[in-house]
Symmetry: C2
Amino acid sequence: MDFSSFLTSLGTSFIIFVVLMLLFAWLSRKPGNDVIYYPNRIIKGLDLPESRTRNPFSWIKEALSSTENDIISVSGVDTAVYFVFLGTALTILLVSGILLLPTLLPIAITDHSVKKNDTTSNGTFSQLDDLSMGHIGQKSPRLWAYLIAVYWVSLVTYFMLWKAYKHVTELRATALMTPEVRAEQFAVLVRDIPPPLDGETRKEQVDSFFKAIYPDTFYRSMPVTDNKMVNKIYEELEGYKKKLVKSEAVYAQSKTVGNPEGVRPTNRIGFLGLIGKKVDSIEYCNEKISELVPKLETEQKVTLRDRQLPSALLFFTTRVAAASAAQSLHGRTVDSWTVMDAPEPRQLLWSNLSLNYYSREVRQYVIYFIVALTVLFYLIPIGIIAAFTTLKNLMKLLPFLKPVLKIIEIRTVVEAYLPQLALIIFLAMLPKLLMFLSKAEGIPSESHAVRAASGKYFYFSVFNVFIGVTIGGTLFGTLKDIEAHPNGTVKLLADSLPDSATFFLTFVALKFFVGYGLELSRLVPLIIFHLKKKYLCKTEVDVKDAWAPGDFGYATRVPGDLLVITIVLCYSVIAPLILVFGVFYFGLGWLILRNQALKVYVPTYESNGRMWPHLHTRFLAALLLYQVTMLGYFSIKEFIFTPLLIVLPIATLIFTFVCRKKFYGFFQCTALEVAAHELKETPNMEHVYRSFVPPSLSSDKLDDDQFGDV
Amino acid sequence: MDFSSFLTSLGTSFIIFVVLMLLFAWLSRKPGNDVIYYPNRIIKGLDLPESRTRNPFSWIKEALSSTENDIISVSGVDTAVYFVFLGTALTILLVSGILLLPTLLPIAITDHSVKKNDTTSNGTFSQLDDLSMGHIGQKSPRLWAYLIAVYWVSLVTYFMLWKAYKHVTELRATALMTPEVRAEQFAVLVRDIPPPLDGETRKEQVDSFFKAIYPDTFYRSMPVTDNKMVNKIYEELEGYKKKLVKSEAVYAQSKTVGNPEGVRPTNRIGFLGLIGKKVDSIEYCNEKISELVPKLETEQKVTLRDRQLPSALLFFTTRVAAASAAQSLHGRTVDSWTVMDAPEPRQLLWSNLSLNYYSREVRQYVIYFIVALTVLFYLIPIGIIAAFTTLKNLMKLLPFLKPVLKIIEIRTVVEAYLPQLALIIFLAMLPKLLMFLSKAEGIPSESHAVRAASGKYFYFSVFNVFIGVTIGGTLFGTLKDIEAHPNGTVKLLADSLPDSATFFLTFVALKFFVGYGLELSRLVPLIIFHLKKKYLCKTEVDVKDAWAPGDFGYATRVPGDLLVITIVLCYSVIAPLILVFGVFYFGLGWLILRNQALKVYVPTYESNGRMWPHLHTRFLAALLLYQVTMLGYFSIKEFIFTPLLIVLPIATLIFTFVCRKKFYGFFQCTALEVAAHELKETPNMEHVYRSFVPPSLSSDKLDDDQFGDV
């Protein structure tokens, strides 16, 4: 890519950004769009900022003036931790840039030892290359400056990450010390319960086991049940209830217009409402509901009595007892009576709770293996799909398409885009696939599954986007060389780096200009909402569903940010200009997401900052990749002091190890010191207990006979 | 070594064994030797078996008829676990031998494909080689039998080790469930206490921290103090007390003989009692004692008040509370308020208790590094010592030896033996060095230090004795080959194995005939005892000290056994005859040590079988080494089905991992299920607390002011 096309691409992105910002300023002033731009505040019942109709840039002031405590109270600790991450990345890149840009750029420009046509962009002239390390001659003493720069970036990263980890630890501690009663702090999850004795129910078994150990603090237990059947009936019932409300609304609407009697809505009861007998919707729903209610009650009783699984939730009367139980070995072997802290009720993955120890372990390794294959060979399934979706095969499989495909224009388009289409579909499905795989590991909570999926996605992006683009096609050509000299990979990577610098500059710019522009303007949700409202929504509930803002989507957002960090770090010394782009990415990101956190997104769970160690480790993985590639790049430059860089990867490994040892324990479980803090009031244990009953099993009638214990 | 010298060496060992057995039969019948052959029973106040004076072989019957519970009640769970280890090794070798000997020996003898002068013993004729795998031709289909044998030995090992781990888990659980009150089950050790607030003592700080977390179960705390000074005074005082008793005994003895007045013993008070003023011993001691007693009391007060360290022992009123506290994270970071279960009072290493987290971690790695260097390069310091102790240097350093060394005979002997002497001294010092290093790691208990030292010694023996002898001098000659092809090491080892088979047959035979012969006959302790009794002992206490039997000495015994297992396993298929020797080693060992456990040794600590995971892992390390060398040896034989063996090392790694996951947790800490078992009586907490007060600090007067809390 030459300089002018780089500028063109940058300019286009910037124009799109400006257009999106203007759109946002215009659209967000219309009160009809409040549910799109302020859903979080509306749901929370807060006032909307008055200034929104006057000053279109007031959101910037509001975002900048909001404190960490504001974020915690509006959006929770997880969001605050995410901002610590954004802020840390921003500071690292800023502090690095302040030293690197004014020193490295002049050093590169004034070096004339490399002839112009030797530059990295395959002979094409490019002003950008003058600013990069590729412009420095081999063995030049100027490389000293670059070596010091590598050290500087690393040291800044260590320092900032250490500070951030300490800060996040405090955030987590404060959250866990809350004087409010939070149900999950009084509960633990027990898995791998051994088979009960004859004539003993699961509940009796669990109660007698734990009462012996915790005679004073054990409150009661809730056996995990197989809810598949009861959930099905419950969902069916809820569906009919919703339909009833909808039909009544339609009926009421039809009344007002001229016809005072109205038209009673009807529907067909066959497949998808397309075939079968026509019935009156209101009557039909009422009928179905009165049929399903007793069925649900019977099913609830059967489930609670006969479908108890070897897993249970336990409730303790104090936080310390629960926190301590979650950390202790209860059975003689690790595969029996496994206890861990309970996640929030809303993020429990019920179907995973009862998986036994071995099945969990085996699933985990099987899935790691599948993911490793996906990361390494993701091109192969796409190739297979592409092969199956060739024109010939398509015509064979779907003969009715034949006449259409015979038209020459359509044929050309289809032929050209089919493989790309397969690729795009696969990439779009990837997050869902990774989330499915993560849940299949047997993880008991949503937040943990999100972390697991995010980790998988990160390795996928780094491997396929970063390393894939950098080494690109050359890798396959030189595969034999790599086999002979495994160390060659690093050199190959280092060798290919400068060629792709401009590509990644554009990539990062695109990400923040277009990505964050879309994020702030919320064009897509806005359009979808208005379409839905106009054509689909019949009731208030429907409208509310149509504007529901969703959460941050960390499973894909975090790997995206980490990929940018990886790219920016790896190029920070080779092409220091990228630091400017990195600062923009995290600066704009921080600002715009601050606005979204305060006004838009509603988190679906709270894990009290458990995301942090995950972010921290992958940040360090990016740093390590950077240090190793720099080692390779310096040795290509034949700089004799290159071995001085060997210290850095070792330092990173030690730093990772020390951080893990020192801080990670508290992110795995609750420190008792923290759990021992006083509560505002004595917890209402009945309330705590009830909050864990899944909706399909909750019923007023049941409490006294089935769930109740002596 | 040819066949006849092998037989000679075997015969000599056997004759020594018979002589030692006869000596034992004769000596153990004499009542005057009871304290040597039955010290454990005497200390416990049990009757000595009557049969001992009649039937010299009754000990065999007694050893065989003793049950595991007998061992546990006489010698503790650790000893029982050691017998599980001996029994498991015995069974594995026995079951392997039953299949291997009748099949592999005929297969080897009847193969005539290898010519006699091609055999492994460098061309010398040897009947032993006919029985080994070296006698099988390359690519011979007979190798199938050997391949199956490798699988058989591995599978038997997995099965027996799994059974043993389960059994040991039960032993440990039973021991921990004891209805007796055992002080260490109510205590935990806290380290890394952060600096106290101003005006707060350590004790107040610890008490307020833990009372907040455990309001109901916390009893009291005992800050760890710097006892260096008080210990010094205490030891001085005890020394004088002992001396006083001795002097009085000497005085009393001198009275009876003719002289009714007796001779009052005297001593000099200067260096080592050799120079200085002569004083009356009894008077001098009394004087010193009355001088030291108040000094000790002052020092005790000062120590308890001013020398509190950032570490403490905590006492809980229930076992569950203590067990649970030992497993929980208390502080927000792992380097503060580290809690672990307390070892028995008698095995506490006081000076290590207060080391902080970082110092422990750093010490550990530094010591691993030192040990790795020792293992790898132990020849170098010996070489240096040898160089310094050449005749020339000796004469320079110690000129007064010159005339002696000029005598030609002495000169020859010294010249020949000086390097060997250095080697022997170094090897004799090694266990002490390793124990010193292990304690320097900051380990808080004796039993853990023993395990750590044993592990180090095991790696040292395997590396230097087994691999060293096998590869021997050839290694250095071919060092360049190894650098070029690192995989070559395994091949080299495999290649050298058969040459050393006879050496190791003799080595194992020597170990059990002479080693266990000496063990049973206790010749050395017997002689030392009689010498001491005659020339040194003045009082009853002196005599008792002289026959004190000591403990099993696992730190050197266990690595010795493990080395034999490594050798026998590695040769089990190459030279199956070694299985007979292995069975003898563990059979005789089991029998003779059973006798020693019942009648001789007195354990100095009880760790409830924590030794087992250590034994288990190293057993598996031996198996892994065996499998890898077999892989190398089969590939030298150019057997095309060799890759079938790759499954085995992988299976061993998985087996190790699974065992560790499943069982190890319970050996690190106490399962709450076990701790929750009922006690015979309510524990006397004052008693529990007092048992942890070190003798130098225990005093009746102190309890109410310093140690006492509100």
